[in-house]
């Protein structure tokens, strides 16, 4: 164990001595006759292996009235197969020391298993069973649906969590593929049927939609052919057709205040239209966002936390999905400081646009992004599986990683400031607040003539219509 690590380390050290850049380790990729893609990468430092099956589709492949169907379907894969009950699957997984997780994003569903190298054969057999032979037992479906409904209700007890759930329905207009909440709400979840699950599974969990990745302490030469057989067993089916939508635009500012009378702080998000994962400005926006609200010394955190003590943390983030999403500021502060904190955030947004960033800031952001990159993206087998999956989903090549440092270094201050002005807008801003309406409603009206107040206890995640 230790010896192998040291050997790897030496090779790695020499590579780095030649070039400070960070590269993706070698991997193999194969396109299979049924349309599936298989990627295998060796990362032998810990005796664990990550298997990840990614199916294109995810939340955007679900009709809005069935919001929540994607994660429900993914979760049901492990709750019964042709030859195993949910109990038997659980017992097997735990006895092997393996983990299984299912997650649905806007554009894809991710089924991941992490197993111990010494248990490779039974782990592979179990993964195959789950992937190829799920039976979606009626009783398990009914049980899961009831659990999901309860979970959706309780999510609103935690305003920090609730605000993120309300954001997509508030920000994206009805009809947009990202409008409906991915995990559903208690109303849509309660209406789901097993037939919908079967139809969704049949349509989406197909060879043409599959990207299968293995990463970790494995031998590509022997595991590769076995996984090829596994992936090839899925019917080719129909390829997911990603829905299109016009870019999100707002003709005026809007403000939605979700009333939570017992809250002692106000949680808020301020957002505007952003970019897609494949936008050519993405690298520049990463730099801008790092400086505006992406790290501890960022403009937002420095002013709202460090200088004024108004919050435990303030940040900005941007979506990185197939279709353009939002850029948003988010933080929270004690009720009586609500307006003060929002004004500070808006002031910083104006400052970013008007004054721009300095060469010194650009250097610092470059170093910060590059300094974190190896431990964020390339240190573990599951990180590598994530990187490779993203490359495949968004049709990127390995230059995405291998040229990343040179892309960051090539950015000029003018380019970065142009990106700041283009992507950090301050017209027609969209405000979402959770707090005690009786105490803040009158003061926050000034941000948007179109203000709506809605009780957070209102069932579901529906947001009111604005004119």
């Amino acid at each position: 164990m230790i010896a192998r690590t040291l050997l790897l380390a030496c090779a790695c050290g020499m590579l780095l001595a030649q070039s400070p850049a960070v590269k993706l380790p070698p991997f193999t990729k194969k396109n299979l006759p049924n349309g599936a893609t298989l990627i295998v990468i060796e990362k032998p430092d810990v005796p664990l292996v990550t298997l990840r099956a990614i199916f294109r589709g995810g939340g955007e492949a679900v009709p809005p009235a069935q919001a929540g169907l994607a994660p429900i379907t993914a979760e049901l894969l492990r709750r019964g197969t042709a030859s195993m009950t949910a109990d038997q699957i659980n017992e097997k997984l735990d006895s092997l020391g393996a983990n299984l997780s299912a997650f649905a994003g806007p554009g894809a569903t991710f089924i991941s298993m992490e197993y111990m190298k010494r248990n490779q054969d039974p782990s592979l057999a179990l993964f195959e069973e789950i992937l190829l032979k799920p039976s979606f037992p009626e009783a398990e479906f009914t049980k899961l649906r009831a659990q999901a409904v309860d979970r959706a209700k309780s999510a609103k007890d935690n305003p920090g969590q609730a605000i993120n759930l309300y954001w997509p329905p508030f920000f994206f207009p009805a009809g947009h593929p990202y409008h409906a909440p991915l995990s559903g709400d208690e109303l849509t979840l309660a209406s789901l049927t097993r037939d919908q699950v079967l139809a969704y599974h049949k349509g989406n969990f197909t060879g043409r939609n599959l990207i299968l990745i293995a990463s970790g302490d494995l031998a590509a030469s022997t595991l590769g052919p076995r996984l090829e057989k596994l992936a090839s067993a899925l019917p080719a089916g129909v390829a997911h057709k990603p829905p299109q939508a016009p870019p999100v635009k707002f003709a005026s500012p809007r403000l939605l205040l979700l009333d939570k009378p017992d809250a002692t702080q106000t949680y808020f998000m301020i957002g505007w239209p952003g970019l897609s994962r494949t936008d050519p400005d993405r690298t520049a926006v990463q730099v801008v966002n790092t400086l505006f609200g992406g790290r501890f010394t960022s403009m937002l955190n420095d002013e709202l936390r460090v200088n004024s003590g108004l919050t435990y943390g303030a940040r900005s983030r941007f979506d990185e999905d197939r279709l353009p999403g939002s850029v948003a500021i988010s933080t929270y502060t004690k009720t009586e400081a609500t307006v003060q904190a929002i004004d500070i955030a808006l002031g910083l947004l104006a400052k970013l646009r008007d004054q721009g960033l300095t060469a010194e800031q650009l250097t610092s952001a470059r170093n910060y992004i590059k300094g974190r990159f190896p431990t964020e993206e390339l240190e573990t087998a599951d990180q590598l599986a994530g990187v490779l999956g993203e490359m495949e989903l968004f049709a990127l090549n390995k230059g995405e990683i291998d040229d990343y440092f040179s892309r960051i270094d090539a950015l000029t201050l003018d380019q970065v400031n142009a990106a700041a002005r283009k992507w950090y807008r301050n017209d027609n801003l969209q405000f979402l607040l959770i707090g005690p309406a009786a105490k803040i409603q009158e003061q926050v009206k000034k941000y948007a003539p179109q203000m709506k107040v809605q009780a957070i206890t209102e069932p579901g995640l529906k947001t009111p219509a604005f004119n």
Partner: protein, 436 residues
Amino acid sequence: MQRLLWPLLLLCALLPAQQLQVSEHTLSNGMKVLIHPDRDVPNVALYFFYKIGSRNERPGTTGISHYFEHMMFNGAKKYGPKQFDIQMEKAGGSNNAYTNRDITAYTDWFPKSALELMFDMEADRIRDLAFDPKIVESERGVVYSERRMSVDNNPFGALYEQVNAAAFTAHPYGWPVIGWASDIEAWTMDDLKAHFKMGYAPNNCVMVVTGDVAESEILALAKKYIEPIPSQPPPPAIRTKEPPQLGERRITVKRPAALPLLLISYHVPETRHADGPALELLEAILSSGRSSRLYSRMVDKDQLVLGINAGTQLALEPSQFLFSMQVRSGVDPLKAESALYDELSKLAAAPIAAAELEKAKTQKLADFYRSLKTISGKANLIGQYEVFFGDHKKLATVAGELEKVTAADIQRVAGQYFKETNRTVGTLIPAKGGAQ
């Protein structure tokens, strides 16, 4: 965000001897230095574990250890206000810190090129921290906001604080790590200075370095920057022992919420106690994975709760085994409670099957591997073993310790600790205003 409060409800893991090679050194001022080179990525994790936490506080200054954790980033002599973060991020690094009942830990991650800068800045703040009254006030607001977020506006946080306060009647583990709101408002500059003097001495700290480093360069930097800092008397020993509990304690919290919460605490010994390995395995038997006894019965079969967690915390003194669960809508929390007691009494009534014990051991081994994936995971593990087990070398022997645990041990330990007179029960009862 950074500098999070929440203590690691961390499992000590099962640890094959050959896994981690750590070299150990003690500086002349008493600071222990543990080094584990790993050149998988060109980065370094530099961790400092100060053996001071909320147990070293007193009524009136509760929360000051955690507050101090924030203050350590607010300027010293050479590197003034904000400079620690500014210089660090500019050099490609980032940091966090955490506080629990026993320790305050500072965690630095950075590219190798920033190594000397980090030693210089860490030494500066240990030796010459500044106490600017204006910054003290501003940081008080930050901590108060953190409290609002993690306790006052968080149903689980609110219940946990109350259960904990009821479970301990005498020992300092009973007050919240983040501090009572009135103490956050009231602590003084003198309190802060006294706390710094008490806890932030090199001889009260363990340094762990993992990543792209050579032992010799770390030792050279430690000698240059850290060794000249004089040692000081360590924090006084905690005298108070929690008296034995004489009967069940029950508390309720009423607040707007969609679902009830249930939190049940049993007193158990400190982490390094001889019953530690059996308690570790009980954690797995009860709630690791969906085939665990509690998940299988309470979440799945009987559908009483939405999820359940069980386990101990790392602790230098006798602590707790906690069960937390969110009760399903329409279910009487008492019903969930009695299902839990039923499962616990089964463990005490008969030895578990060999396969179930084996499963728990396998799960712990897999958890251990998972904690070795990153240089930061390894730094944390090495430091925790040094502090909570008394010696990082126990990383090599705990495997055997867990292997030795028998079904009879599990039965005995379950019977000894999971009993009615030893428990504190907290229920969060939803008041009007939560989603129904």
